[in-house]
Symmetry: D2
Amino acid sequence: MKIGIIGANGYGGAELIRLLHQHPKVEIEMLISNSTKGTVLTDQYKHLHNIIEMPLEEWNPNKIQSKLDVLFFATPSGVSKEMLPSLLESEITCIDLSGDFRLKSEGLYEKWYKNKSAHIEDLQKSTYGLTELNRNEIKNSKFIANPGCYPTATLLGLAPVLKANVIDMNSIIIDGKSGVSGAGRKPSVGNLFSEVNENVTAYKLGTHQHIPEIEQEIQNITGISAAVTFTTHLIPMTRGIMCTIYADLKQKVNVEEILELYREAYKDDGFIRIRPKDNWPSTKEVYSTNYCDIGINIEERTGRLTIISVIDNLVKGAAGQAIQNLNVIAGWDERTGLAGIPIYP
Amino acid sequence: MKIGIIGANGYGGAELIRLLHQHPKVEIEMLISNSTKGTVLTDQYKHLHNIIEMPLEEWNPNKIQSKLDVLFFATPSGVSKEMLPSLLESEITCIDLSGDFRLKSEGLYEKWYKNKSAHIEDLQKSTYGLTELNRNEIKNSKFIANPGCYPTATLLGLAPVLKANVIDMNSIIIDGKSGVSGAGRKPSVGNLFSEVNENVTAYKLGTHQHIPEIEQEIQNITGISAAVTFTTHLIPMTRGIMCTIYADLKQKVNVEEILELYREAYKDDGFIRIRPKDNWPSTKEVYSTNYCDIGINIEERTGRLTIISVIDNLVKGAAGQAIQNLNVIAGWDERTGLAGIPIYP
Amino acid sequence: MKIGIIGANGYGGAELIRLLHQHPKVEIEMLISNSTKGTVLTDQYKHLHNIIEMPLEEWNPNKIQSKLDVLFFATPSGVSKEMLPSLLESEITCIDLSGDFRLKSEGLYEKWYKNKSAHIEDLQKSTYGLTELNRNEIKNSKFIANPGCYPTATLLGLAPVLKANVIDMNSIIIDGKSGVSGAGRKPSVGNLFSEVNENVTAYKLGTHQHIPEIEQEIQNITGISAAVTFTTHLIPMTRGIMCTIYADLKQKVNVEEILELYREAYKDDGFIRIRPKDNWPSTKEVYSTNYCDIGINIEERTGRLTIISVIDNLVKGAAGQAIQNLNVIAGWDERTGLAGIPIYP
Amino acid sequence: MKIGIIGANGYGGAELIRLLHQHPKVEIEMLISNSTKGTVLTDQYKHLHNIIEMPLEEWNPNKIQSKLDVLFFATPSGVSKEMLPSLLESEITCIDLSGDFRLKSEGLYEKWYKNKSAHIEDLQKSTYGLTELNRNEIKNSKFIANPGCYPTATLLGLAPVLKANVIDMNSIIIDGKSGVSGAGRKPSVGNLFSEVNENVTAYKLGTHQHIPEIEQEIQNITGISAAVTFTTHLIPMTRGIMCTIYADLKQKVNVEEILELYREAYKDDGFIRIRPKDNWPSTKEVYSTNYCDIGINIEERTGRLTIISVIDNLVKGAAGQAIQNLNVIAGWDERTGLAGIPIYP
């Protein structure tokens, strides 16, 4: 299968290249980057020297349609909504890693992204690609809105208790901690080593664009519209997201019952690892892989549930899940090209 | 004033030495370390070469009583409860940075520290040294139980809304993120660079010994016994603690009203800096200093208050606050010896 | 092929497990760790949860001989010299990642390792496993002394100019910079996060045990006994070694001539990547892979050659090269199980 | 004494502010930043909230002359050569932290800085401010070219053996390792956290603009024109420089003789700390201070001297030394405002 990547010069693009290069069923056919077109990939990424020496090309829909089966959009917000619709009539499968088609309402996008939305009919065409939760829809889609990194960790962490209807829907608080690679490769003072190192920063309190994405999907799972508190923190590491999720239990249950709920919910999902009691995952334990590890705690003192959910933001939170979705669409084993063990230490 | 430090070979001890050395009113007279007695300080800490060349001595209560005015305990849990009581009849002011005398009930200590408590009458003699909240008691005390690092950040962050009675007391959740220096200098696999770097870990969920300390002081402030959820995370940095605190507001208020509450509550407290609206502190912004910086957010969507409180765990969370307490006891300006600007970057 | 690992609880062991697990021709049959025997692997390494759940067994030569084809020693100095000789009469291929059999003289080992050497006849039986330089000997060996991390980077960096006889043999200076994982997982104050972070330390000046290894192999390549200066530095990262190598050129040559020498020398070596002029490698560009990247500079002002050679210390500097050697011995493609792309960023 | 800083929004400027604020003899009167004029300092540096709330002003020579006694230039290369000459006729003492006036030849500047030089007569007016080596000239100067960070560590490390004429002048190699703050606060891909973390990079081999500065001062010390090899490496930390310096000894001497040379050379220099035999400094041991720590090794095997010299690049390598120079000019104790203990850990 012939694939292309637009936004190949960003971190999401580079991670797609890393993972697709070792995928036995695909061939990287075209790399597109309007901002660095005319350069070669190894000008941007010296680690690919001698491995992948390809030009970075300009966006050209005709060429794309004649040469590719699949196009991944690893572009910043606001790009795919302009470019992707022109491919929707073609045979090409589009997997969009940006946020442009995740929210199913124009108003919601415009409120949270502070930018004009894609057309509502195009929003409706896309399938939200959280693989474990939407596998059946994904199987029959050729246009995937790949989930955000925080929503992936959050929704996988919450889904079993949402479905089981055991938590107070007004009590959900998500405290997210992220490495810096999620901010991309575009230089800014806030992402300089000297600013991030030996530092933890809270940012976008109450205004993060992943809030409506989380709330939309919670509603899709439960049918209930609930507002969540979601706070994001930048911590001094490159990769990894941990979401610490708090919710009030509606009734007294013990940890083993909740853990059993999780094990059952994810029993066919090879990338979800439920930790035993009193064992909480750390981000390094999923480093460079498509795993989402989940640990659970219940406090008797407060009757509150705490869920620790970790992913590698560039893999399960972006490129890895995109490939997992391609695997589902193509009918391949979901783990194809994604079978590595976490790098540790 | 002649001071001594026991536990001078740990990080808390080293930080006391750094700060006391530049304190104009005191003289470091004796450094005590049973585990490394017979060595000199610069064997343990080469950065002090040519600056402070002193022997590390053995614990000797008679010598201490004859030579010192003040003794700081920078010892691990379980040490001061054995040693400190022998000094309580003397003239010496004791400031204990460990947790041995913070909890005012024997049972509470034994439950959370898994160790035999100090005698109840000695527990009662100590003053909980959160300077901004207990300044008057501290002024007349000669035995200070210096607060834990997390409780310092948490209680300073919560006190104004606790006193103003504007939050639901059953809704308090504290998500703590700490640098590694809080774990001390004793080697363990979990604190190795290779394990901590590029990693975030949740630990001691629901069992951290700072939980009863926070709850005890919340009760002292409000008169109400409330259970809090408190989750701690280790992040890849050396110094700094951020507590992100969540609570449900009992009524609709706006951010400016809450900020005004904080500015008023801390108007005479030079080390507390309240940030303006939409400005949240990061730990690097208080690095190496005794500041506690606090930022506030209110979400209309959820009616929830978020408080961001940051300190340097070794300064305001340990040695700095201990010295601030000494300044109060001695009647000196509280900022004496603590006037540095944060190291940035 | 059935393989075992002794020292499976260390970082070298964990890296062997990561790489061998994705190797299509081998099966991990036995994990041995005397110090943590009786536990299971996931007690030591939670990142392997659900992936490799195996017990850590005790050393048992009979069992090893009956079950294994290959045994990797990922043990600290001083262990394999006691245990490995008992297997030399068996059919088992032994690949020793420690330094116990690298030096071909008992006196040299005893001088630099401060410990009794293996027997001289056993030292002679081993083959020094720097694959690119000794491929033919390795092919016919069943006992490999796998090179040290610094010697690997250094010797691959120097070999072409040593063979071409273009540098002054008395002028070689190697300035090594290493991540902390090379020091292993045994806790020590010097490897704590708080000590390593925001710090660079020079250590073992003139006394590092890799000095005689480098000098021995330089002599094997050139026939000349030359003393080198070798200085090691610990820098705040987990993985990666850079050796910056300085040598005086015996005659005037230009960079392109030297680069051509390198390209020619390594033309059949898929893991060695020679960078073009004015392009120097960084350690992150080989992260998690078996690559050794080399860049060259010549200063006209001083007539001096500078070579920058980088590896991942746990891969090409340990586990990866060990597997590369196994591939050579077994007659498989050298890249089998080692074909990943560097993790970046 | 009334001082001003131009370039107050950079890291050098921020460090001057930190140190001058606690200097008892000066008052910060004016902060200048053309690029961020009209903002206030705390917009750029939130850590100064409530401590220093000053506007960032535009460059105005008349205002400067009427209000200031001293002006520090903490500007990027190429700025002070345009602005500073207009002040040379005034009474103002100018201390330039940039490289614009360090090289005493126009051609040298133009070759290495790739930019037009200041006028030769202005170059000649400045005094090279390496305090320990040029104290007498500095005392009578009102125009200081403050040394570069690498030259400071290198020259302090080399001066005693240069003066004693014990090394081969053609054998000097300096291997520099630096934290990232030296690159300033201007965003660039190369300084992003995700690129620097878990990475070591060699850069500007043979072309670094500090090479001619080092060679010029070696000539000033010895009268001999010698070419040095100088290689710079970026390591994943914010502050600190280590220079590992190699040189061939002309005759056999032992470490103690060399150490005695250093102790004697710096016996009146409170900021230079010579380590005992087999004790080498690390950068964290001088963190945030004006110390330069030096350790020495001699290898009998090679007859080579190794010197380890460490500084905090923002203090002794920039702002601290600039203030030390002001103290000399003003006739104050050199340690005024610079007496802090290194932050450790």
